[in-house]
Symmetry: C2
Subunit: 195 residues, 2 copies
DNA sequence: GTACTACTTGTACTAGCGTTCAAGTAATGT
DNA sequence: ACATTACTTGAACGCTAGTACAAGTAGTAC
């Protein structure tokens, strides 16, 4: 708990605030213009600062994108954890989270997706994107012990999100819930692959 | 059949060939450098032509990307149709298609994914990306009459693809097959949501 | 042949990019 | 007070981008 939490220096506190502001501005730009629209200049303008200040805090654009994706991933992790630790129907909680991607959180979800796609090509981002999926996997593990069912749920969650974003679908909660439920349920009957 | 298939003019035939070459070059660039790396200049260099020629055939970069995504989607459609029409285990065929995304076809799959992500922001591309998913949905319809199970299979296919690309997973065929099977199978038992 | 059309090139323009840097300001420590 | 450190600025560098355009080449039609 005594790591880097207490900014003894008042200037450092302001600096951290700036950093957060810049990351917010970055996400705003991704939401508005896509990941391709992120430049030191557009971000700086969005944040109301000078370009050089943006480079002062994030020397390279990559640093900026990594920071932005990390922040988004952290938020997502928190949401998932809330569902896992919460008292309610976890599967329904997950469904609500997914449906939200098509509603008010659409732009946000789109931004997340663009950053995640970016991750496929940048090792630095890949680690963050992976942790993302592991959060859902963890939630899945609380719902079933069957590893295949867990994997199906994770995959279905991701695929549903894509469907909602691309198809611009109505994103009916019951529908999403049913699909997730379908994915995790198993007849566990006449099948049983050996190895 | 008598639409725009017969190039009376030999020059026009060459032109169409050029167009195809440029699209190929575009896909090659996306595979190598990502969608962000697509510029008239990089594409032209890849195709071994001048920059102006690239703009002659595709006035704007957007035109080029739309054309590229359309081509890729057509290829994909053909692959899916082969599985649907083929004699073998359709689910296994789908699994093989997905696993291929992690193997030799990784770069290709990555390119497809980047273009599809791009689609979320460009209406012109969105239609193409949607047709894509409908192909898998069609395949799913041949495997089960249950609409929820169909949706689960489509979502799982997509999610698995993402997992393989981002996690750089081993992409074991049996594993993928099992997850797909899990998604489409249903106990159809004690559940039965009403509305 | 000549006229026409489709294709192809080289060059040049403007605009925006990432990044650097010397200089300036303000908070902190002593 | 003074030195130190953290933050902030404005200007500039070299580079690449999209695009336009006049000129040239080569098939096609008459």
């Amino acid at each position: 708990m005594s790591e880097a939490n207490e900014p003894v220096d008042g200037r450092r506190a302001r600096g951290n605030k700036r950093r957060a502001e810049i990351i917010d501005a970055t996400l705003a730009v991704v939401q508005r213009d896509g990941a391709a629209g992120v430049t030191h200049r557009t971000v700086a303008k969005q944040a109301g600062i000078t370009t050089s200040l943006s480079t002062y805090y994030f020397a390279t654009l990559d640093d900026l994108l990594v920071a932005a994706l990390s922040t988004v991933a952290d938020d997502y992790t928190k949401r998932i954890q809330d569902i896992v630790d919460g008292p309610g129907d976890k599967l329904r909680g997950l469904a609500e989270l997914i449906v939200e991607s098509g509603g008010s959180g659409r732009e946000r979800a789109l931004a997340e997706r663009e950053l995640a796609t970016l991750a496929a090509r940048r090792p630095a981002l890949a680690a963050v994107a992976r942790r993302w999926r592991e959060n859902v996997a963890e939630l899945a593990a609380t719902l079933t012990g069957d590893r295949t069912a867990q994997a199906a749920l994770v995959a279905a969650s991701d695929g549903l999100c894509t469907a909602i974003l691309i198809d611009n679908a109505p994103a009916d909660l019951n529908y999403v819930y049913d699909v997730l439920d379908q994915a995790i349920r198993s007849s566990r009957g006449p099948r049983g692959r050996s190895a």
